[in-house]
C-alpha cells in the first residue's frame, strides 16, 4: 500500500477523549506507581509496565538493555518460551516487549473476562519478575541481535539514523544504537543480562499504566498481582545532561544506494521542558504539520525533491534530538540540503508568520480529540505522563498551553534552542564520483 505520507498514516492507525480521560493514581504495596484510566465501552484491558532500563543504561555494553528485554519471554519461572507464549496466545492475549533509549517496557492487551484476565496477568508477572535467561536462548537471541545489526547495514535510512545519533550525542549514553554494535553484542554475557535485570527490573524503578474495562478495586488487585515478588531495588541514578554541540559536524557515509539520505539536527529538548509548547507548535509550522508544513511545501510540493521532508523534536528524559530530514536522488542531494538549511536558518532568524501560527494552532487544538480516541492512545499518553512525571492535568491544560504560544515565544525559543551554525549534518549515499551520472 502506498500512502501519500507514510508517517501520517501510521500515526493515524494508532490514533480518543470524551472530554479528557480521568487519570487515577496510586502506588502498589511495594511502591510501584500506577496510572489508570477506566473505559467501559469495550471488554478489554491494555497495560504497560515501564522500567527505567533503556539503552541509556547500557554503559560500555551497548545492546545490553535490548537483549535483556528480548530475553524476558524466552523462559521464566521454569516455563519455556513455547509455554510462555502459549499461555498468552491461547487466551487471545497479546504480549509485547520493547526497549528504547530511556526505558524498556512490557505491554499486554487482553480481554477482561475473569477466565482470561488473571492468567494473562500472572503470566506477565512471571515474565517480568522471574526470567530464567536460559543459556541457549541467550545464545540465539544474541545471534538475532547480530543479524539485525547487519540488516541495518543495508538500509541507508538506518545507517543515517545511527550516524546522526552518534554525531549529536558524542559520548552521551544516547549516542549508541539500542541494538549495540557487532563488537559490543559479541562481548555480552548471560551474567551481564542477569545483572541488568536484577538492577533495573525492580519496583523502585518501575511504573504501570492501565486503560480498560475494569474498576478501581480490580485495577488495584491486578497491579498487586503484576508486581508480586518484584524486588524493591533502587531507582536508577539520573543520566547526565546532554552537552550542546560546539561546532558544525558533518558526516558523509558511502552507501551503494541511488538516493542520499540527509539528516540534520542537534540536541533538542526534554520531556516537561519549559520551552516545550513554543518548540512543539513552532516545529508544527516548520516541518511537523504534515502536508501544510514549510519543509513539505518548499522541498516536496514546490520542487518535487523528496517524498518525505520533515522535522521533529523527540523529547526524552534529557534533551532528545531535533531532527530534520529528507531523501533524494544523489545528484540533487546538495541542492536539497542547501534548501533544508536555508529553511531552518530562516525559521530560526525570522520565526513564523502570524497566519502560519493561527493555522497550526487550529490544527493542533481542533485535532485534539483525535489524539485520544482509542484505549491505545490513552495508554500511550498516561505512560508518558506517569513515566516522565508530567503534570497530572497535562491533557486538560494541553489546549490552553498551545493557545498561549505566540510568534514571539516561538522566535525566542528557537533562537535560544537551535543554532543553525552548530548542526550535525549526516549524508548517506553513493559517493561523489556518481553524482550527476548513472550507468
Amino acid at each position: 500500500m502506498y500512502a501519500r505520507g507514510l508517517l501520517c498514516l501510521l500515526l493515524l492507525m494508532v490514533a480518543r477523549v470524551n472530554a479528557t480521560p480521568q487519570i487515577q493514581h496510586w502506588r502498589t504495596e511495594n511502591g510501584v506507581a500506577v496510572f489508570f484510566v477506566e473505559t467501559h465501552e469495550l471488554p478489554m484491558l491494555d497495560l504497560q509496565i515501564v522500567f527505567d532500563a533503556g539503552s541509556s543504561r547500557d554503559g560500555d555494553q551497548a545492546g545490553l538493555a535490548m537483549l535483556t528485554s528480548a530475553l524476558l519471554e524466552e523462559g521464566a519461572g521454569g516455563l519455556s518460551a513455547d509455554e510462555i507464549s502459549q499461555r498468552f496466545e491461547k487466551l487471545g492475549a497479546i504480549y509485547h516487549g520493547q526497549s528504547g533509549y530511556d526505558s524498556s517496557s512490557v505491554s499486554l492487551r487482553t480481554l477482561v473476562d475473569t477466565g482470561k484476565l488473571t492468567p494473562a496477568i500472572e503470566n506477565l508477572n512471571r515474565v517480568v519478575t522471574q526470567p530464567d535467561f536460559p543459556q541457549e536462548s541467550f545464545a540465539r537471541q544474541r545471534n538475532l541481535a547480530l543479524v539485525s545489526i547487519r540488516q541495518k547495514q543495508q538500509s541507508p535510512g538506518d545507517l543515517a539514523g545511527d550516524a546522526f545519533f552518534a554525531t549529536v550525542f558524542g559520548t552521551h549514553p544516547y549516542a549508541h544504537p539500542g541494538e549495540g554494535t557487532e563488537e559490543t553484542v559479541q562481548a555480552l554475557t548471560r551474567e551481564a543480562i542477569k545483572g541488568f535485570h536484577q538492577r533495573y527490573y525492580v519496583a523502585n524503578n518501575a511504573m504501570i499504566a492501565m486503560v480498560g474495562d475494569i474498576d478501581r478495586a480490580k485495577a488495584e488487585q491486578l497491579a498487586g498481582y503484576l508486581t508480586a515478588g518484584m524486588a524493591a531495588g533502587e531507582k536508577a541514578a539520573p543520566i547526565p545532561p546532554v552537552p550542546a554541540l560546539t561546532s558544525e559536524k558533518k558526516v558523509v557515509l558511502e552507501h551503494p544506494s541511488v538516493q542520499t539520505h540527509i539528516l540534520v539536527g542537534q540536541p533538542g529538548m526534554k520531556r516537561g521542558d519549559p520551552d516545550y509548547f513554543p518548540l512543539y507548535v513552532g516545529n508544527h509550522i516548520l516541518g511537523g504539520g504534515g502536508m501544510i508544513s514549510r519543509l513539505f511545501d518548499e522541498i516536496r510540493e514546490k520542487r518535487g525533491l523528496s517524498y518525505s521532508a520533515y522535522s521533529y523534536f523527540s523529547p526524552m528524559r534529557e534533551d532528545g534530538p531535533f531532527i530534520a530530514g529528507l531523501q533524494t536522488r544523489t545528484d540533487q542531494a546538495q541542492a536539497a540540503l542547501d534548501l533544508l538549511m536555508l529553511n531552518l536558518r530562516q525559521f530560526v532568524e525570522q520565526g513564523p508568520a502570524e497566519e502560519e501560527l493561527i493555522a497550526s494552532k487550529k490544527n493542533i487544538t481542533g485535532g485534539f480529540p483525535l489524539q485520544l480516541d482509542s484505549n491505545r492512545d490513552i495508554l500511550n499518553y498516561i505512560a508518558v505522563i506517569g513515566y516522565y512525571g508530567l503534570p497530572m492535568d497535562y491533557l486538560e491544560t494541553f489546549t490552553a498551553n498551545v493557545e498561549a504560544v505566540t510568534v514571539e515565544k516561538i522566535k525566542d525559543a528557537f533562537r535560544r534552542r537551535l543554532a543553525p551554525d552548530r548542526l550535525a549534518i549526516v549524508m548517506v549515499g553513493p559517493g561523489s564520483q556518481k553524482e550527476g551520472g548513472t550507468d
Binding site: Y2, L12, E89, V147, Q153, G157, V258, P369, G437
Partner: protein, 470 residues
C-alpha cells in the same frame, strides 16, 4: 502479527499487517447501515460513539490491478495528483482546509483500490464531504503540478524499492509468480512507466474511474447514520453518475510447475520468499465447484497455525527449535479481487543458508499436509480471532478500513460479521485439505535475494535518474 519481519513486505507491509488484525477479527459489519444514492454512490455508515470523532473514507474501485503493461503506477500517481486542485479549490487548499479544522488526512493505493480519508472532530464531517465530492469530478490536473509530483513519486519508488533490497525482491517475486494476472505489477509502477507517464493518461484514468458509480463512502464514528445519509445526498447527490465501467479482470493463467528467481542486490542478508497461488473470498462461492467457500478461511487458519504469534510453528520450530531462521513469516490475503497468494518469507539464521531455510519451510508444509494440526493449535487461533474481534473496535479508522476493503474488492461489507463464525467452523481436516490442494510445487514461486557486497562499487542506477531513460 502475521508479517512480523520488518522490511520484507515494505511495499505492502502496512496492508498485510492491517489485514491480519482486521481479519483475525471482523466485527466491522455490526450495526452498520448501507445507503445507495441515485447516482450509484454507495454509503456505509457505522455508528461508534466512544469518542467525538469521525473518520470518512472514499474508496474507488481502481488500483494497480486495473492497470496493464506500459501504464503501471497510474492509479498511484493519480492519487498524488488528487491533492493538486480543482476549479473551486486550488492546489494545496484541500489539505489546508482539513488541517485548519484539526483533521488528519491522507490517501493510499493498493492493488484493488484507491482510498482517501479524513479523521475529524465529529461536527466537521460536512467539510470532508464537500471537498471529496468536489475532487471526485472536478480535478484540474495541471501539467506543471504533474511535472513536480511525478518526481516525488520517483523519489518514493527509489526510497521504498530501489534502495531496499527486500522490497526489491518482493517486487520480482510477484512479477515472476504472476504471468497474466495484473498482480504482477508493482503498485507504485515500474520506473520506466513512471518515466513515460503523461498528464493525458492521468486525465483519461481519472475520467474513467472517478465517478459516484465507482465509489464507496465509508463513515465510522460518533455520528447519526441518517444525518450522514442526508449530508451525502447534499454533497455527493448532485454529481452525475458517470458511465458504469466494467472492472479489468484479466485472470491468472494456470501455473504448471515450480518457478524460481534470484535477485542480486547490495545487501548484508540473504532472504527467501515462497509464494503459493491461492484462492480468495468470492462473491458467489458456488460459482466454482472446485473451490469450497470455506477454503479461504481454512487458508487463513493455516497461516495462523504457522505464524499467528510467538507460539506458532514458525517461531517455535524455525526461529527457536531448529534455529534455522532469524525471521520467518506467513502472509495470506483473503480479501482480494482475484486469486492471490499465500507467501512464506524469511531470513536464515547465522550459519544457515537460504537453501536450509527453504528446506525447513517445505518440511513445515509437508507436515501440515500429512498430519492434522493439534486441537490446541486450532483453539489458539480461534481464541485470537475472538479477541481480535474486540481489539479491532479500539480504532474507528480500522473499522472503516475493513468495510471499505471488502466493498471495493467486490464482496459485501457484511461478510465481516461472519468472520469469527466461519473461522471457528474450520476443522483440522480442512486445514490439511487446503494444504494438499494449494501448497504444492506446481503453484509455487521461490525467489531468493543474493547479497552483493555493500562496500563494492555502487550498483548500476536502474532508476533513470537525471532523465536517463533506458
Amino acid at each position: 502479527m502475521k508479517s512480523k519481519r520488518s522490511g520484507i513486505q515494505l511495499t505492502s507491509g502496512i496492508i498485510l499487517f492491517l489485514l491480519w488484525i482486521g481479519f483475525f477479527s471482523g466485527s466491522a459489519g455490526a450495526a452498520g447501515k448501507e445507503y445507495a444514492l441515485d447516482n450509484g454512490l454507495k454509503l456505509i455508515v457505522k455508528e461508534d460513539h466512544r469518542a467525538p470523532v469521525v473518520v470518512s473514507q472514499v474508496w474507488y474501485k481502481v488500483g494497480s490491478s486495473y492497470e496493464h503493461d506500459g501504464i503501471t503506477g497510474l492509479s498511484h500517481v493519480l492519487e498524488h495528483m488528487m491533492f493538486k486542485g480543482t476549479k473551486n479549490h486550488p492546489a494545496g487548499e484541500f489539505s489546508r482546509i482539513i488541517s485548519a479544522n484539526g483533521g488528519s488526512e491522507n490517501a493510499f493505493t493498493g492493488m484493488d483500490y484507491t482510498a482517501y480519508f479524513q479523521t475529524l472532530e465529529k461536527s466537521r464531517l460536512a467539510i470532508s464531504f464537500e471537498l471529496e465530492a468536489d475532487r471526485m469530478r472536478n480535478l484540474l490536473l495541471p501539467a506543471d503540478e504533474f511535472a513536480r509530483e511525478i518526481e516525488v513519486v520517483k523519489e518514493e519508488r527509489r526510497m521504498r524499492t530501489e534502495d531496499d533490497p527486500e522490497s526489491y525482491t518482493q517486487e520480482v517475486a510477484m512479477a515472476t509468480a504472476f504471468q497474466t494476472s495484473p498482480y504482477r505489477h508493482p503498485i507504485i509502477g515500474w520506473m520506466n512507466d513512471l518515466e513515460a507517464m503523461t498528464i493525458d493518461s492521468l486525465h483519461d484514468w481519472y475520467q474513467h474511474w472517478y465517478a459516484p458509480a465507482n465509489a464507496t463512502v465509508v463513515v465510522v464514528g460518533d455520528v447519526d447514520a441518517e444525518v450522514v445519509y442526508q449530508l451525502a445526498i447534499r454533497y455527493f447527490g448532485p454529481l452525475p453518475a458517470g458511465k458504469p465501467v466494467p472492472a479489468a479482470n484479466r485472470s491468472e493463467t494456470e501455473q504448471r510447475g515450480l518457478k524460481r528467481a534470484k535477485v542480486k542486490r547490495p545487501a548484508e542478508l540473504p532472504s527467501l520468499l515462497m509464494l503459493y497461488k491461492t484462492p480468495v473470498l468470492r462473491n458467489h462461492p458456488v460459482d466454482d465447484s472446485n473451490t469450497g467457500d470455506w477454503e479461504p478461511y481454512a487458508l487463513e487458519v493455516l497461516a495462523g497455525i504457522l505464524d499467528g504469534g510467538n507460539s506458532a510453528r514458525f517461531a517455535s520450530r524455525l526461529i527457536r527449535g531448529k534455529e534455522i531462521a532469524a525471521s520467518a513469516g506467513v502472509s495470506y490475503n483473503l480479501i482480494s479481487r482475484m486469486d492471490n497468494a499465500l507467501t512464506l518469507s524469511g531470513t536464515p539464521a547465522q550459519g544457515h543458508t537460504v537453501a536450509d531455510l527453504e528446506r525447513a519451510m517445505l518440511d513445515e508444509i509437508v507436515d501440515i499436509q500429512t498430519s492434522l494440526v493439534a486441537d490446541s493449535e486450532l483453539e489458539r487461533v480461534k481464541a485470537q480471532v475472538v479477541s481480535g474481534d474486540v481489539y479491532e473496535r479500539d480504532s474507528v479508522f480500522y473499522q472503516a478500513m475493513v468495510i471499505g476493503m471488502l466493498e471495493t474488492v467486490g464482496l459485501s461489507w457484511r461478510l465481516a460479521d461472519e468472520y469469527v463464525e466461519r473461522i471457528s467452523a474450520i476443522s483440522p481436516e480442512q486445514v490439511r485439505q487446503v494444504a494438499r490442494k494449494y501448497l504444492v510445487d506446481d503453484y509455487l514461486t521461490i525467489t531468493e535475494l543474493e547479497p552483493l557486497p555493500l562496500d563494492g562499487h555502487a550498483p548500476q542506477d536502474t532508476t533513470g535518474g537525471q532523465g536517463h531513460v533506458r
